[in-house]
């Protein structure tokens, strides 16, 4: 099993690598080269930080084109984590309106901080649908670790799991070969390890 973590220089990927190793995956690489992306069995799109900055880097490195080919045409499984999940959406209003990769019909907006502490930080409960592949074997409303100031909203059929903070927002989506989670499975103890294992096995 070859898992490739797409490298565009944003945030800590050490804990993702360490989680995958813990799950017994022997071939883990971190790269942004087309050949590596093509030869991987599964892709992980990580990310922390600014949406606009991330999209700029992704375009500069041509990762957007590589992913359109491998994810949309070849249907290679991909898991977006945190900012990576948001980047596969249509757009974000972080740092002005920026277009995303557009794989998933969801828009990223800021939390309304009027009566709410922002960022949303800590473990929160995730409510998923019975058809979910990501949460197999987990109890509904299990806790996962979130840390973010922007969230995805969508009313499209993207098999979403939800989380409540102020309002309900998209905690994860699952579409064919594409999955994204707003929380950090690699920082969510046994619940997160189970979810990563499910992605590897069921996508």
């Amino acid at each position: 099993m070859k898992v490739l973590i797409i490298d565009y220089g944003m945030g800590n990927i050490k804990s993702i690598v360490s989680s995958l190793k813990y799950l017994g995956i022997d071939d883990i690489s971190v790269s942004n080269e087309l050949e590596k992306i093509k030869s991987a069995d599964k892709l992980i799109l990580p990310g922390v930080g600014s949406f606009a900055k991330a999209m700029n880097t992704i375009r500069e490195l041509n990762i957007d084109k590589y992913l359109q080919d491998t994810v949309l045409i070849q249907k290679k499984p991909i898991l977006g984590i945190c900012l990576g999940m948001q980047l596969m959406g249509l757009s974000s209003e972080e740092d002005g309106l920026t277009d995303g990769l557009g794989f998933v019909a969801g828009k990223v907006i800021k939390f309304d901080s009027t009566n709410l502490k922002v960022p949303h930080v800590g473990f929160n409960q995730v409510h998923f649908q019975d058809t979910s592949r990501l949460y197999q074997g987990l109890k509904n409303s299990s806790d996962f670790y979130f840390t973010h100031s922007f969230k995805m909203d969508s009313d499209a059929p993207i098999n979403q799991a939800t989380c409540d903070y102020g309002n309900t927002f998209v905690a994860s989506y699952e579409l064919d070969n594409i999955a994204g989670v707003q929380f950090h499975p690699e920082l969510s103890q046994t619940n997160g390890l189970k979810l990563l294992e499910n992605f590897i096995k069921s996508f």
Partner: protein
């Protein structure tokens, strides 16, 4: 429902982990000692987060600290925040590349607001914890930087307002008078400042047992409690404390 958090803070100085009391450091052991007495991968399952602070007083060798950090975080699947001595974007980058999910800033909050802005632009507010150390002097809460060595003219409430204005993600509020005493958090001050705070608040300084953690977690507007007491929570102290806190039906996360 968003859960409250229990955080363990490790204080590091020149290759060793320390017990701090009112910011005076006492050597406890190196990373092997820590591994032997805490079995960190096991203990981490009782924690929501880990904070590792470089409190080295003379020379904060960030590369050496980052190396210890990267050993510490192997097979620990919880968020790790690291800081102490961050004075440049490179310092921050070294910590992120060695396993930090967030960074903790203190002195530069008052001395280099431009750098704080730059770090926020790159890593996002949610990656930045602002650590604030304060001490009571003549009945007033005065803010200290540079490992408690330098007193600022500004008072705590005004300083918190300033720090929130920088757009940091969270506040780690540490009372130097209570630090390492085990007498409990500075509840009076916390009650006063927490009500108006619109970003997450982490309490530090003074927790001696799980009753203090429970008292802190029960306060409105407190999002997390931290303890740095290596002795009170040795062995299975933390798993037991977490269990008691769950028995009290406090709002903390559970893992399958």
């Amino acid at each position: 429902m968003l859960r409250k958090r229990i955080i363990f803070t490790l204080i590091y100085e020149n290759g060793f982990f320390m017990q701090s009391r009112n910011f005076r450091l006492q050597k406890v052991g190196n990373i092997d000692w820590l591994e032997k007495n805490y079995k960190f991968q096991h203990i981490a399952f009782s924690l929501d987060e880990l904070i590792v602070l470089n409190a080295s007083r003379e020379n904060k060798d960030i590369s050496k600290f980052a190396n210890i950090l990267s050993q510490l975080v192997n097979d620990v699947f919880i968020p790790i925040a690291a800081g102490g001595g961050i004075r440049s974007t490179d310092d921050a980058k070294i910590l992120f590349n060695n396993g930090a999910d967030k960074i903790v800033l203190n002195t530069i909050l008052s001395k280099d607001a431009a750098l704080v802005q730059e770090l926020i632009t790159t890593y996002g507010s949610q990656s930045i914890i602002a650590a604030i150390d304060y001490k009571k002097i003549d009945g007033k809460n005065k803010v200290f930087i540079e490992d408690g060595k330098e007193e600022l003219a500004i008072e705590l409430e005004e300083y918190i307002e300033y720090v929130v204005g920088l757009n940091v993600g969270e506040i780690y509020l540490n009372c130097i008078d209570k630090d390492g005493t085990g007498f409990g958090y500075d509840f009076d001050t916390i009650a006063k400042i927490s009500e108006s705070l619109n970003i997450p608040l982490i309490l530090a300084g003074g927790a001696g047992n799980e009753k203090h953690l429970i008292e802190g977690l029960s306060m409105n507007n407190v999002n997390a409690v931290a303890t740095a007491n290596l002795f009170n929570f040795i062995g299975d102290g933390l798993p037991k404390a977490r269990k008691r806190i769950l028995d009290e039906r406090l709002n903390i996360a559970q893992w399958n």
